[in-house]
């Protein structure tokens, strides 16, 4: 039988970056094919090519034997290729049924929809409530709606791009089961992920990408876990920092960080922080937390449970409606960002490009933007001193840049993040460091560098609050882990306690309350 999807010698270049190079990929009907790779390995580019969001530069694609070269997603959909994107495309104000009809345009009438959805529910065990407004649904159910939306079109090939990034452990299991059932009906499923644990639970075959090239491919039964890790990162599993291995979901139980013998004095206090929302329940529903010097506290949770807003309130981007945030006894609840910085609050923001740095400006300018006053000479800016200071930071933090004057957008994501970290850690004194998704989108080397710096900050006596969706990362890094759930912080869970992972998983879904 012909393969469902076949790529031969596919290449794609963006500017000077070779995103994909001579990639071969064969996906058979009836199998779940995992495309594995680190961030930046070319997984998303591959998805975009297959779904028609980007055109390939060289090579060819075949869909069930026929030459396949979609010029836009609509064409891919017509040919039976459906994709579940990492970020959902549902209209929150509408109901599930309305969203499904919207996707189907005029081809489906509301009475028929009920029947079709019923059939899908029976075939795949994927139940959705057509009358429910999307805004009120938890993320896992929204994703089910996305998948139903795809299945309504009766696709021959289903692509899922990092579908588990926003899900809790139980939801991940349900999703993988669904993938299996879809494959069993004779369709082809391509699951794009960087988590090895998922691959083993759901996949039949795998193709591993590294640096835009195929590092290995074949039936999953032919690979050991160690071999997959080696193919993905080009290093042996045993050589990896346990933290990094945990990030890949490659080891079941990462070694937890040894808890601090004596916790220091409390540095920061959060009391009853509340942030109202114009529509729906409060985004922050009374957050209480005490952070001690030298302690690393993690906040886990499914995205959208208030953790981003908590960081925004603490960093001064949003203003809390109620409650108090104190640092060293000083009330900073409504203080301007500059005052917070002066009080010793360092923030590594969640969205690097949005508020972490100014990508159009140079490394030196980004490092010293908040302290330009120190670089004034005769009323003018002392660029020489800035350059020298930046060169020191670049060397100290191992930032790979062509020089202190290099615009930040010429640096890789990991090196941009190192600039942000270098800037925030340079605060004197640094009393509280807030790191929001500090390793998101970074390659392994950069993850290691950033996390080492975060640990160092704690070792030097700062209190550290890490918000991350990488549970394994939190378990190895933190002294205690809180779980954000519907605007509140549940827990704490001690990372070294037996069953900590399951306990956190339960809290994430609100099952423990």
């Amino acid at each position: 039988m012909e393969p469902a999807l076949e790529l031969t010698g596919v290449g794609k270049t963006f500017g000077e970056v070779r995103a994909l190079d001579a990639v071969d990929l064969t996906v058979r009907a009836g199998e779940v094919h995992c495309v594995l790779g680190e961030n930046g390995a070319g997984k998303s580019t591959l998805c975009n090519l297959v779904f028609g969001s980007a055109a390939l530069d060289e090579g060819e694609m075949r869909l069930y034997g026929a030459p396949y070269r979609p010029r836009r997603p609509a064409e891919a959909l017509r040919l039976g290729v459906a994709m579940v994107h990492q970020h959902f495309s549902l209209v929150p104000e509408l109901t599930v049924g309305e969203n499904l009809l919207l996707a189907e345009r005029a081809r489906l009438r509301p009475p028929d929809l009920t029947g079709r959805v019923k059939a899908i529910e029976e075939e795949y065990g994927l139940a959705v409530d057509l009358a429910a407004p999307v805004a009120g649904l938890p993320v896992g159910e929204r994703q089910s709606v996305e998948i139903v939306k795809c299945l309504l079109r009766d696709p021959r090939l289903l692509l899922l791009d990092e579908p588990t990034a926003v899900l809790g452990p139980a939801e991940v299991r349900a999703l993988l089961a669904t993938c299996r059932r879809v494959a069993e009906t004779g369709r082809a499923v391509v699951l794009v992920t960087h988590k090895l644990g998922e691959v083993e639970r759901a996949g039949d075959a795998a193709t591993v990408l590294r640096g835009g090239k195929v590092a290995g491919s074949g039936p999953l039964a032919g690979f050991s876990r160690d071999e997959l890790v080696r193919l993905m990162v080009g290093r042996e599993l045993a050589d990896l920092d346990p933290l990094l291995a945990a990030g890949l979901d490659a080891t079941e139980a990462p070694a937890p960080r040894t808890p601090r013998e004596t916790a220091g004095e409390p540095v920061a206090r959060l009391r009853g922080l509340r942030l109202r929302s114009d529509h729906g329940p409060d985004v922050l529903d009374g957050v209480d937390l005490e952070l001690r010097a030298g302690e690393i506290v993690g906040v886990a949770g499914v995205e959208g449970n208030g953790q981003s807003e908590l960081v925004a309130v603490l960093s001064g981007a949003l203003s809390a409606d109620e409650g108090v945030f104190e640092l060293d006894g000083v009330d900073l609840t409504r203080a301007a960002p500059a005052v917070r910085t002066a009080a010793g609050l360092g923030v590594i923001p969640e969205d690097r490009h949005h508020e972490g740095c100014v990508t159009g400006m140079s490394v030196a300018e980004n490092l010293f933007l908040g302290r330009l006053r120190e670089f004034r000479r005769f009323g003018l800016l002392d660029r020489k001193a800035m350059r020298a200071g930046a060169a020191r930071a670049v060397a100290e933090h191992g930032i790979r840049a062509s020089g202190p004057d290099a615009p930040l957008h010429t640096l890789s994501g990991g090196n941009q993040q190192k600039v942000v970290v270098a800037r925030e850690l340079a605060l004197d004194p640094l009393r509280l460091l807030i790191a929001a998704q500090p390793t998101r989108g970074l390659d392994i080397g950069a993850v290691d560098a950033v996390l080492t710096r975060v640990r160092d900050a704690a070792a030097r006596g700062a209190a550290v609050l890490v918000v991350s969706s990488e549970l394994a990362e939190l378990l190895t890094l933190c002294d205690r882990v809180m779980v954000a759930y519907r605007g509140r912080l549940l827990g704490p869970v001690a990372p070294d306690a037996p069953g900590a992972r399951d306990e956190i998983g339960k809290l994430m879904l609100g099952a423990a309350t």
Partner: protein
């Protein structure tokens, strides 16, 4: 860089061809039209002098535009800010006592012009920073209010209108006192005033400010990423409001120089659309103050050349505006085209 030259060169070539076609349509042979245009630019001290005066006005407005633009704001209110600057300058210029020394009078006049324009832009700045109202809309609409205020001022005797002695009294202000008039640069028969010096100084100071001071770097940061600048503790609102006020202030100074040049009165429509032309100069210069200086000069020369084109060759002066518009479309189109291709 080479591409930029190619774009500007190509745009000029297309514009020249369109201009020649228009001249031919107007019944003038290309060489006659060309000579008339040239004479209007460089042919006499008078022509070149008035070109310099226009250049100064455009450069002042475009410099302000560039400063605000660095902070991410688009000031389309040059016309209204000029109007208010002109009104304020007139109010000072007609009421100074006769014996005031020229240095003092001129300083007072220019400060009044700056303050008038800055206040007018300040309205938009306040709305933007405190209320989040888009400054493009507010500055644009304030233009019309500003122009109406000029009408009001020159029609009301209680305001700035000269005393009405007969039915023929024009609706305009009294002439400025002698000391408040801008001195001429010097060459005989040239109407060029020291406005061009003032504009040159503004361009140089602005270039220094934007490139070599902490304030300039902060403005750039705010313009490139407001959230990041706020996170780093920069006073985003103050920087934005300040840059827009300075933009308005410079437009106000431009208005003041118009009032303090022949015929030294505030009259209806004294702004003659310079505010919008200055905006176009700023847009075409794309953040470069060197380009602001160059394009202002080119536009100033074209304006005075166009007048002579009509006088000497009988080609409508409006054809120069058509040529300018073609220039703008070419340059702007090339920029958009290249951005689209890079995506």
């Amino acid at each position: 860089m080479r591409r930029d030259l190619l774009v500007y060169g190509g745009a000029v070539l297309v514009a020249v061809l369109v201009g020649l076609a228009l001249a031919a349509g107007g019944g003038a042979a290309p060489d006659v039209a060309g000579r008339a245009l040239w004479d209007g630019m460089f042919g006499s001290p008078y022509a070149f002098g008035s070109a310099l005066n226009t250049t100064a006005v455009l450069a002042l407005i475009a410099t302000g535009f560039t400063i605000a633009h660095r902070a991410g704001l688009v000031n389309v209110g040059g016309e209204g800010q000029m109007a208010l600057g002109g009104i304020a300058a007139t109010a000072v210029g007609v009421s100074l006592p006769a014996g005031t020394p020229a240095v003092l009078a001129l300083t007072a006049l220019l400060i009044a012009g700056f303050a008038g324009g800055a206040l007018w832009a300040g309205v938009a700045a306040w709305l933007r920073v405190r209320r989040g109202v888009n400054e493009v809309i507010t500055t644009l609409l304030l233009n019309f209010v500003g122009l109406c205020l000029v009408l009001l001022a020159v029609h009301e005797e209680a305001l700035l209108r000269q005393p009405v002695t007969s039915a023929d009294t024009l609706p305009q202000s009294e002439p400025l006192v002698e000391a408040a008039r801008l001195p001429l640069l010097g060459p005989p028969e040239s109407p060029a005033t020291i406005a061009i010096v003032l504009a040159a100084v503004s361009v140089i100071v602005a270039a220094l400010l934007l490139r070599h001071t902490a304030t300039g770097t902060r403005l750039t940061a705010v313009g490139m990423s407001e959230p990041a600048a706020a996170r780093l503790g920069l006073p985003v609102g103050r920087l934005q409001a300040g840059s827009l006020a300075v933009a308005g202030g410079l437009a106000g100074v431009a208005g003041a120089t118009l009032i303090a040049t022949v015929p030294y009165v505030l009259a209806e429509h004294f702004t003659s659309g310079y505010g919008f032309t200055g905006l176009v100069v700023g847009l075409l210069a794309r953040g470069s103050l060197t380009a602001v200086a160059g394009i202002s000069l080119a536009f100033g020369l074209l304006a005075s050349g166009g007048i002579n084109l009509q006088l000497a060759a009988g080609v409508p002066a409006a054809s120069v505006q058509v040529v300018q518009s073609v220039l703008i479309i070419c340059v702007a189109g090339a920029v958009i085209f290249r951005k689209g291709a890079a995506r």
